[in-house]
């Protein structure tokens, strides 16, 4: 049975290879090949899932050893896969949502002549992402880690002829590389500490390592997670990543890849448990990001950027939960899954809207679309209810548990973190309501674009709506399904471990508080965008708003400090290399030449001066010889 694991990856990998090498002759069918292989991978996933369910809780870890990847004395990196409850969850999420989004893309990319390549990249991404979650050691995980980075680079920059897209892609890759550096160093630290970096041995020997080492490793892992999951301070790339096609945003930058950081932390639970200091940092990062993202989300008029901010914020929740340790791991993953459903759904909805609006992304140019695209409206609406945590929908369950856990951390930290989470919930309600109102309610605000074509909003074709409906269903019932009887908890517990924290507040109090925040948020949004019409041109807005529009000035900081500074550094280095390092060499040559020129003049052509030099030479010779005897 475990031999199937490789097939999970092989299927989409094959697809990528065929589609990218195949060339034009596959243009006609390429997208269906891609979709089919993604679906195949999903089916295999289901088979394995069934197999796992068939086993007892402690028998649910399958490993498949393919070959020895990098064998060097003392350094063994194997191509080994590990399928357990945690990776199974991800496999299903990735392949499932992935397949749906493939399907959606068939419609969405219909008019793009490079559609085949698009599907090739999507398959490549699936393969890399599956490798990431199935790897049995950190180096193989790193393989997948950078693989998804590459896929995201290719897909963000898919419309390479748009300079903005190319730049965004580069930025995403670079920021991620900074995170990857962390992962690389973490692997080195593990090797230096344990002499290996395979999951099993590392986790079992955590006890033998000093806490200092563990903290270092954990922090490096966190750095990696920040890069991949767009957590402060490495979050700047996610907003720009929205330059990519919307299905990409849905799959990679909402549902799956960006959550890899959470996976990394939860996977390395053993390490983090051994490093409380690092865990605290994790929670702080999570809390800061969830507020950061939420605030940014409030200010954006670009629907995708608004959703990106929300993604950031939701992942902040997950990281916060993961930082809480055994109390939170399970809920982090649970929220991750539910978020996968409703955020993917929301993005697909946004994509559908853009599809109908000539790729217009400015919400201020929407309005009243509910009449024109009902299916999109309903599915998007359900996703909206889910994310703000409307009682009974999936977001309600998963987010609520995280907030509880935050309080359960106890002590002042608990209060602060919990408070942050609650505040986040309120803001979430606000900005999502804002998006909802500006897009689907109010009067129509769109005008003809520069070349005079009036957008004719219309509902999207079936290939696009079906995935949206499926995801909507998921986002409605997912949470309930997982939580009732703690199904998800029991499923995941053997891997991550779980402990009930001792919350100062009862579960009901927390829930009540959440509800209050929710209502406040919605009301505020209604007051601003529901009652009075939305201006087409954005008002100047408060200082905070303007800062938030600019991602809280974080890009400007990067630009001034890193970009400008870097340019100056390189330019001056180039200058130095030319003048100093090379100058020394050329200078030596020149000086020898000059010396030569000067000595050359002694040869003045007069026989008598030659005689003089001979005479002097003779005298010197004699003198020297005598001197030698003297000394």
């Amino acid at each position: 049975m475990e031999n199937l694991i490789a097939l999970l990856i092989a299927a989409p990998l094959l697809g990528a290879a065929v589609l990218l090498v195949g060339g034009r002759r596959l243009d006609a069918v390429g997208h269906w090949i891609g979709t089919a292989l993604a679906a195949a991978s999903f089916v295999i996933g289901l088979v394995l899932f069934a197999d796992l369910l068939g086993r007892s809780a402690d028998q649910r870890t399958l490993t498949q050893h393919l070959f020895s990847w990098i064998p060097v004395a003392g350094f063994q990196a194997d191509a080994t896969f590990r399928l357990d409850q945690l990776s199974m969850t991800f496999v299903l999420l990735i392949t499932g949502v992935g397949s749906l989004i493939h399907l959606y893309s068939v419609g969405y990319m219909e008019h793009d002549e490079r559609r085949r390549r698009f599907f090739g990249y999507l398959n490549l991404f699936l393969a890399a992402m599956l490798l990431l979650v199935l790897a049995d050691n950190y180096l193989l995980l790193y393989f997948g880690w950078e693989g998804v980075g590459l896929a995201s680079y290719l897909l963000i920059g898919f419309w390479q002829h748009k300079p903005a897209a190319a730049t965004a892609a580069k930025k995403a890759f670079l920021v991620n590389r900074v995170g990857d550096m962390g992962l690389a160093i973490a692997v080195m630290l593990m090797f230096a500490t344990f002499g290996t970096f395979a999951f099993g041995p590392v986790f079992s020997h955590v006890g033998d390592a000093s806490e200092g080492r563990l903290t270092a490793i954990a922090l490096m892992l966190l750095l990696a997670a920040c890069g991949k999951s767009a957590q402060v301070p490495l979050q700047s790339w996610l907003g720009d990543a929205m330059e990519g096609p919307t299905p990409v945003s849905a799959l990679i930058h909402a549902a799956t890849m960006v959550t890899a950081g959470v996976y990394l932390i939860v996977r390395s639970a053993a390490v983090f448990n051994g490093a409380p200091g690092a865990q605290l940092v994790v929670t702080v990062v999570g809390a800061v990001t969830l507020l950061f993202g939420a605030i940014v989300g409030c200010a954006k008029d670009d629907i995708k950027k608004a959703l990106a901010g929300s993604t950031m914020s939701q992942i902040g929740y997950m990281v916060l939960a993961a930082g809480l340790g055994p109390i939170g791991y399970v809920f982090a993953i649970m929220h991750l899954v539910t978020h996968g459903f409703f955020k993917a759904g929301l993005f697909l909805g946004a994509g559908s809207v853009m599809h109908g609006m000539n790729d217009e992304v400015d919400m201020r140019k929407y309005g009243g679309l509910r009449k024109y695209m009902p299916v999109t409206f309903i599915t998007f609406g359900l996703g909206y209810l889910a994310i703000i945590g409307f009682p009974g929908l999936s977001g309600f369950f998963s987010k609520d548990r995280i907030i509880e856990a935050a309080f359960a951390k106890g002590g002042t930290e608990g209060w602060i973190l919990g408070g942050a989470a609650l505040l986040g919930a309120a803001i979430t309600a606000f900005y999502m309501t804002r998006v909802m109102l500006m897009t689907f309610f109010g009067e129509k605000r769109w005008q003809p674009d520069e070349n005079g074509t009036e957008p004719h909003p219309h509902e999207s074709p079936g290939v696009m709506t079906i995935p949206m409906i499926v995801l909507a269903v998921g986002s409605v019932f997912g949470g309930a399904f997982f939580s009732i009887g703690d199904r998800f908890l029991h499923w995941l517990e053997p891997v991550t471990g779980h402990s009930e924290g001792n919350s100062p507040l009862s579960a009901w109090t927390v829930t009540a508080a959440t509800m209050v925040c929710l209502v406040i948020g919605v009301a505020a949004a209604w007051a601003q965008y529901g009652r009075k019409p939305v201006p087409v041109v954005a008002p100047r807005g408060s200082l905070l708003t303007r800062a938030a529009r600019r991602d809280l000035l974080q890009d400007d900081f990067n630009h001034v400090v890193l970009v400008r500074g870097g340019e100056h550094l390189t330019r001056s280095l180039v200058y130095l290399d030319h003048t100093l390092v090379d100058g020394v060499v050329n200078g030596t040559a020149a000086s020898v030449g000059g010396l030569s020129g000067r000595m050359r003049r002694l040869q003045n052509g007069f026989a008598r001066s030659y005689a003089v030099s001979m005479f002097g030479g003779a005298a010197l010779l004699v003198a020297a010889t005598l001197l030698m005897r003297a000394v």
Binding site: R600, R601, N604, G605, F606, R608, F615
Partner: protein, 99 residues
Amino acid sequence: MNPVNYLYLAALLFTIGATGVLIRRNAIVVFMCIELMLNACNLALVAFSRMHGNLDGQIIAFFTMVVAAAEVVVGLAIIVSLFRSRHSASVDDASLMKL
């Protein structure tokens, strides 16, 4: 009389000759100065020969004269041809090749 004085004389002549080579322009004169140096050598040789009481030195002196004669032949030939083509026997005029 102490033969060493002859050596001093020889050294003196040699130096005079050398100085002449360094300061005189006319090729012929320069050449004569060289001859003077050679003869200084002869003097020294003979003096030493006397000191050591063997004849080697004197024999060498004879050889030297012959060599000097040969040198004169060659030297004058060259100098004269130079003079005829340049209408000057100055060593300094002959400085086409330099640097």
